[in-house]
């Protein structure tokens, strides 16, 4: 399956900001993290199709997967 990726903040210099990724189905977020070469300790927020998600969550086909650094609201 092919998913679209977007990286934000300090994560974007680590890999192209917007890209697509081909993964064998089924796949989890953590597999995408590995393929992208991201440091999991630097990921503060993950969304799948706009819904907050975790490393262990499954990726639906054709989803949009976003990674954010640690952020805080105020």
């Amino acid at each position: 399956m092919i998913i679209s990726i977007e990286l934000f903040g300090q994560l974007s210099p680590q890999s192209p900001r917007r890209q697509t990724l081909e993964l064998a189905s089924p796949a989890r977020v953590q597999e995408a993290v590995g393929l992208l070469g991201l440091n999991p300790d630097e990921i503060g927020l993950i969304t799948i199709n706009g819904v907050q998600s975790e490393m262990q969550d499954s990726l639906p086909p054709d989803c949009r997967l976003c990674f954010f650094p640690y952020v805080t609201g105020g």
């Binding site: 934000f8 300090q10 969304t47 907050q52 954010f68 640690y70 105020g74």
Partner: protein
């Protein structure tokens, strides 16, 4: 420590010892207690019986990083209940160094008799306003610093406050000519205007230091606290907050479908790309502006910026997330330059950008301008400074604007405009907006980022999360800490206890401190109860409970029974 009473009826001010019941309180906690003890809860918020209180937090003036915020408070003309709003700048630090527990402004000057309160160390004077009457806060701050010294702190209101508009905030100057730190929310600028008080000027407290009960204990804990902030991945020098400012969350809030768009009709904004923190940083630095500046002496987070135009001329310092959301996406604007210009106008008139952005969104929905049309929006906002009928309407906030223009979709709770998180897709914030004694105020308990605890789109666990966050918020606002400084204290409350004990020698335990924090909310809720607020006031507007918000098509469906029982375990 001492307390300064200012009688605007008699135009007199005097010092008095701090009453025992106020001794162990500061900032928001002290404001809640003074309101409960001294202010008739049902009084007119803009009348002589309300009081305007300025109070540093418990740790103000003792060089604890991020702890120099100034709390302003009184009965709010918007919520009809208790209100505390706090600002950076140098006022909290200066009052703390002068050992001033609070400044309590009482009564009301006779019509058109405006004064400035001047605090000169241990003496004080009320002087006629002179040539700053009717001026915006930039010119007021400039002229008063020329008159009283460039190192002095100026706390002032603009035209909105002078006209007692409910959207008026209170402006505080900072280090090095810095302008526009705002105690923005709840209409406290209108309360200040109702007293006939244009400004408070505090001379720089040269050579003054607060007395410490145990300097070693305080300094050791303060150093640890600062280091933990520096090491925090969100807050340190490599953290999002420092690099991109509060705008660092624009993309995340938008992605989660909670970014207020065109009067809270969508949670995604198509123009977000040009509003996000990364773009703000890129533009600011390319033009010669500044990122990572601080709003308080010694702050290690430094999340402010100086946003400049293409000729490097500063427009505002600082352009913040809430302003970008309410004056930007909420009005359909995707230009940081335009948002910054509106921000500057609000700062100058002395307006809360959240309340004003919400009011403008409602006015646009009524057909008075067009979403995305900067000129028509700017023209409406300009009328606040001109004092026209429409300007006074906008300046009085979202609820007044909706009522007069016949608009039902008013994003407000407990009379106050909503901040930059739509509560339908961030329901924890919805619970806070609805139930906080402070009204719709994200600083009272912001659930954004609490992802590992509660699903923002779900109902389960929201009331417990909101209560926990509201208790933390009460703690921060009472100690003078910036709300971004919460992680080390949440992880290790003993750190805060040590700092308070080092300052005062009270021998507090963590249990004492937890009780203190909860009592802030208890006092506030009691004041609001006596003021006549009922369960029916503590609600999210009906349209948000019925109208699905794209992209998740979420409604605010936390049941009333949950809202009514948030504080049952307080």
């Amino acid at each position: 420590m001492k307390l300064l009473r200012v009688d605007m009826n008699q135009l007199q001010a005097h010092w008095e010892p701090v009453p025992a019941t106020y001794e162990r309180l500061g900032g928001r906690a002290l404001i809640a207690k003074i309101l409960l003890e001294e202010v008739p809860p049902a009084c007119d918020a803009l009348g002589p019986h309300n009081k305007l209180i300025f109070a540093p937090g418990l740790l103000g003036g003792v060089n604890v990083t991020t702890a120099g915020r100034l709390s302003a408070g009184g009965k709010s003309p918007l919520t009809r209940g208790v209100k505390e709003a706090n600002a950076g700048g140098t006022a909290g630090d200066a009052l703390g160094k002068l050992d001033i527990k609070a400044v309590v402004v009482e009564g009301q000057a006779s019509s058109d008799n405006w004064h400035i309160l001047h605090i000169l160390g241990d003496s004080v004077e009320l002087v006629p306003t002179g040539d700053v009457r009717g001026l915006g806060t930039y010119a007021t701050s400039d002229r008063l610093q020329e008159r009283f010294g460039t190192g002095s702190t100026v706390i002032s209101i603009g035209q909105a406050g002078e006209c007692c508009m409910g959207g008026a905030g209170i402006c505080v100057t900072g280090e090095g000519g810095q302008r526009s730190n705002y105690a923005a929310r709840g209409g406290l600028g209108a309360v200040m205007g109702s007293k006939g008080l244009k400004a408070v000027v505090i001379d720089k407290p040269v050579g003054r230091t607060a007395t410490l009960a145990d300097a070693d204990l305080l300094r050791t804990a303060a150093r640890t606290f600062a280091q933990k902030l520096i090491n925090d991945p969100k807050l340190g020098t490599k953290g999002s907050q420092h690099l991109y400012g509060t705008a660092s969350i624009v993309a995340a809030v938008n992605e989660m479908g909670s970014f207020p768009t065109r009067n809270f009709s969508d949670g995604n904004f198509e123009g977000m790309e040009k509003l996000r923190g990364e773009y703000l940083r890129e533009v600011t630095l390319a033009r010669g502006g500044e990122m990572g500046t601080r709003c308080m002496p010694g702050c290690v987070i430094a999340c402010r910026n100086v946003y400049v135009d293409e000729s490097k001329k500063p427009i505002v310092g600082t352009l913040q997330y809430e302003t970008i959301a309410l004056l930007g996406s909420n009005l359909g604007l995707d230009s940081l330059d335009e948002i910054a210009l509106l921000n500057r106008m609000c700062n100058d008139f002395g307006l809360d950008t959240i309340e004003t952005g919400a009011a403008l969104g409602v006015a646009i929905e009524a057909g008075l301008a067009k979403f995305g049309d900067y000129e028509s929006i700017r023209s409406m906002l300009a009328q606040v400074g001109e004092g026209t009928v429409l300007g006074r309407l906008i300046g009085n906030g979202a609820v007044a604007t909706g009522r007069v223009l016949g608009i039902r979709r008013v994003p407000a709770a407990v009379g106050q405009g909503m901040p930059g998180y739509d509560p339908r897709s961030l329901k924890g914030n919805g619970v806070t907006y609805a139930t906080s004694p402070q009204g719709a105020d994200h600083t009272a308990g912001n659930a954004f980022g609490a992802r590992k605890e509660v699903n923002p789109l779900g109902v389960q666990g929201q009331k417990e999360l909101s209560l926990k966050l509201q208790i933390i918020g009460a703690m921060l606002d009472s100690t003078g800490l910036c709300l971004f400084a919460r992680p080390p204290i949440i992880a290790d409350p003993q750190l805060m206890v040590d700092m308070v004990n080092g300052r005062y020698g009270w021998g507090w335990t963590v249990e004492d401190y937890n009780r203190f924090n909860r009592n802030v909310l208890r006092n506030e809720l009691e004041f609001n109860r006596r003021a006549g607020l009922t369960a029916a006031d503590y609600r999210i507007p009906e349209f948000m409970c019925e109208e699905p918000l794209p992209p998740h098509n979420a409604t605010f469906d936390v049941p009333d029974s949950d809202l009514d029982t948030v504080f049952e375990t307080l």
